[in-house]
Amino acid sequence: MKAPDFDYLLPASLDAALAMLAEHGGEAMPLAGGQSLMPMMNFRVAAPEVLIDLANLSELRGISIEGDTIRIGAMTRYAELMADADVQKHIPIFGLALPHIAHDAIRNRGTIGGSIALADPAAEMPALLRALNAIVEAEGPDGTRMINADDFFLGMFETALDGELIKALHIPVATSEQRFGFHELTQRHGDYALAGVAVVQTSNTYRAAFFGVADRATRVPDLEQALEQQDDMASVLEHLGNIDFTDDLKANHTTRQRLAGVALKRALKGMTV
């Protein structure tokens, strides 16, 4: 199938992009790496009248250390994340997770901001950002908003963005008290996971964000608390019952719950610095 027709806009600045977005409202869609939007357009599932390509927005690029956080421009591609020495050093969980995201050719175009803005519940990045306690820097007509990743994902393909574009992600740099775990269960390499989890342990506290299990990247406070209390694994896994697991062709909610538990156990077993 061929994409429906649209107007292609290539703003040179973030302000210009935001103005275009405001002008065209619901008819416009921003284009980041295009690795999810383009397939949707090619299937005629997405049919924007106006496509605003963010490729030339220098404000959305760059990786920098700012105190105890690392700031990653929204248009940073997965391949750039994987190759960046600061990211490797300060966000070690990305090293565990990024090779699982699709394939080389997709990672060469797909961006961190695009993935976050799409909020696919099966994608790795939203869960990673929740586990990392990241902050989303969003820029809109009314200025900048800093949104906790925990408050950002509102549902399937639904985010807290309101006429805004993601400018950057702020991720706390890894500390010596931290350990990281990541595990996902896919039948084929690079596919969306049947269930997966990203775990960040800071001293004895945990942030565990599941993906591929529900309508959004999901944390279960009771479960994290049980981990902190060093409850036995069976008790920990019981808290998975708090998740409203997805039923689909590849796995029903029972299977998903089971697989989420296995993913968690395996992630915890493989925790690294």
Partner: protein, 792 residues
Amino acid sequence: MTGPAHIFDKPNRYIGKPEPRADAARLLQGRGSYVDDQKLPRMVHAAFVRSPHAHAKILSIDTEDARAAKGVIAVYSGEDLAAHVTPYVGTLTHLAGLRSMPQHPLAMEVARWQGEPVVMVVATSRALAEDACELVYVDFDELPAAVDSETALDLEAPVIHPELGNNLAWERDMVAGDIDAAFATPGVHVVEREFRFGRHTGVTLESRGTVCDYDPSENQLTVYYSGQAPHMMQVIFSKHLDLPEENIRVISNDVGGSFGIKIHTYGDEIATAAAAKLLKRPVKFIADRFESFVTDIHARDHIVKAKMGVTEAGTIVGIDFDDLTGIGPFSMYPRTSAIECNQVLNLTGAPYVMENYRAKGRVVFQNKTLMCQYRAVGHPIAMAIADGLLEDAARKIGMDPVALREINLMADDSYPRSSATGMKLDDLSHKRALRKLTELMDYDALRDERTEARKNGIYRGIGFVSMVEVTNPSPMFYGIGGAPIASQDGATVRLDAGGALHVSSSITEQGQGTNAILAQIAAGVFGVDLNRVKVTTGDTATTPYGGGTWASRGAGIGGEAMLQAAQALKDQVLEVAGVMLQTGVETLDIQGGAVTDLNGTIRLPLADLARTVYYRGNELPNDLNPELVATRHYRVTDFPFVFTNGAMAAHVEVDIETGFVKVLHFWAVEDCGRVINPLLVDEQIRGGVVQGIGGALYEECHYSPDGQFLNATMADYMVPMASEMPDITIAHIETPTKTSVLGAKGAGEAGTGGAPAAILNAVNDALSPMGASIWQMPMTPERILTALDQAD
């Protein structure tokens, strides 16, 4: 019939050598020529409005806005095209009782599956044609759909064709011996299982497509066709578009995979030809991936309740099964959709000595995509039934599955003979194949390793299959039933003035290496270097008449025709050489591009001979009439088809926490008769195995209860990718078929036919310590976890 030794043992022979394909270079440099690469002057593009419903009455069609849309050339409804295309019915007389109804290229009055083409839009680009499709308004009145094959025959089920009274397309019973008495015999253990085989489709990487070009000045239709059987399509276009056969030229250049998908009559392709005729200009239709999923033929989709009886000592007393399969709303034209079920009835248990056999097959209509012959038709079902039950029985009586096979496989020296179902068998090597397999894989060591691993909570399993494959079909396959499908193939070999051979054949190339093996046979048998042979296939205007490539017939039938033609040309050339050299032909040979003595001394280069014949005929005696071209045709006689056999094994590891299966290694020992090119046949078998693994572990067309195809994307219909596939070790046994000089049988379908049973058995072996087993494919993580939950 076996060939004179010199055909295979000559110094310049190529048969049996791992020669790389000459046409690989073209494909590796992006110079292939696939249908979508065709760009003709004035060419326009087709797109289709397809039924969004599984079953719906078409109340009205409003095309006004679409006709006015940018770039639109024409819009056709079912009625518009019905005036120009006669309907077709997918029945054959030798499949007694098979019923279907007339089909039109676009739905008329009622749409019967989601994806059925309803309206065709032709525009100056595909994108514009798709835009206009969105402006076609079809008022559908949704009807209740018969989706589930298990309820399609219920009295209250919606009847898809009221004229037929119910949804039964075909049924057949097959009985040999007395199965009830055999099972009731004291000491006989009966195992019983219900097998479920998911619906698959071929997912050729190049989707279906055609460019049809009509020239009214000569009433000539030229069809660029991504397919397997150009001559069959020539007849079909002729018959249904009212054009003389000779005015239709079907050209299949490079074909990006077919696997049985591209050998049928698809409404959208017929509509494209009709549009070309009506518009008097070239029309291109390339199915997009969604269209491929909802319209390419599907296959499998069988539910089988089966029993096998085995004595304490391990003798199989018989098999009893009931196969139910759903084929969509029509039987596919012209090959029909009853063949797969028929194959299951014919082939189940064919490797084993068995006195008693009872099988019932029922083929039902349903509101899903049409089903027809896809790679290894019926084989994966037949092999999984027999070998699945066999290994189940082996566990029950506590016997090793290899030992149980040893007892029951037909002896290698017992041929010719018949199977329990009356199939004529010859030149098979089941026992040698199994022994070679167990040596190749070091079965004993693998078993020990499995036992050790289990102690550590690692669940590995080993599974086998002993199989037959139907290849080299005779006229008994289709022609006898009235199908316009040639079972014979032709080959022409021409010596050109420069001493090179130009050969052509009616078999076709879809990547198997058809052209390569034709060149090898011609070069070796005639006596020129391989690089002096040029091959033409896939064009009804320039090749001999024949069936094309399907049912693993290319090498065995087309190859034999080529051998005969090359031998004939050699005899003709030597006759000329004998006159020119004034010597008896019995003292001459052709080697390395020259006429030689029997000891290889060059007497006359072929170029000199040919130039004399072509340019300086005055130097030849007047009564010599040199013919430097020869054509021969070949068909299989005496047998309905030529069986091959093989033995395969899978080594798998099941993660019992997740239900994930990892295939660790796969082995295949194949007896496809004479191997023409091991390099090509090995990777062909590997590809088949991987397709079989796909069916066993990943691939399934999911439908909602109301007949919506739920996973019609490549992200959701899971095909096997490189990361999860094992290395596959291949070995051969060569028992040439006596039906030809070449002795080659087919090999294209073995892997796909055998691998699912081997994987099923390996998974069940891995699950056996838990008392669990699974009988449904694909064996998804969820199904394996469910099986573990239900373990005794």
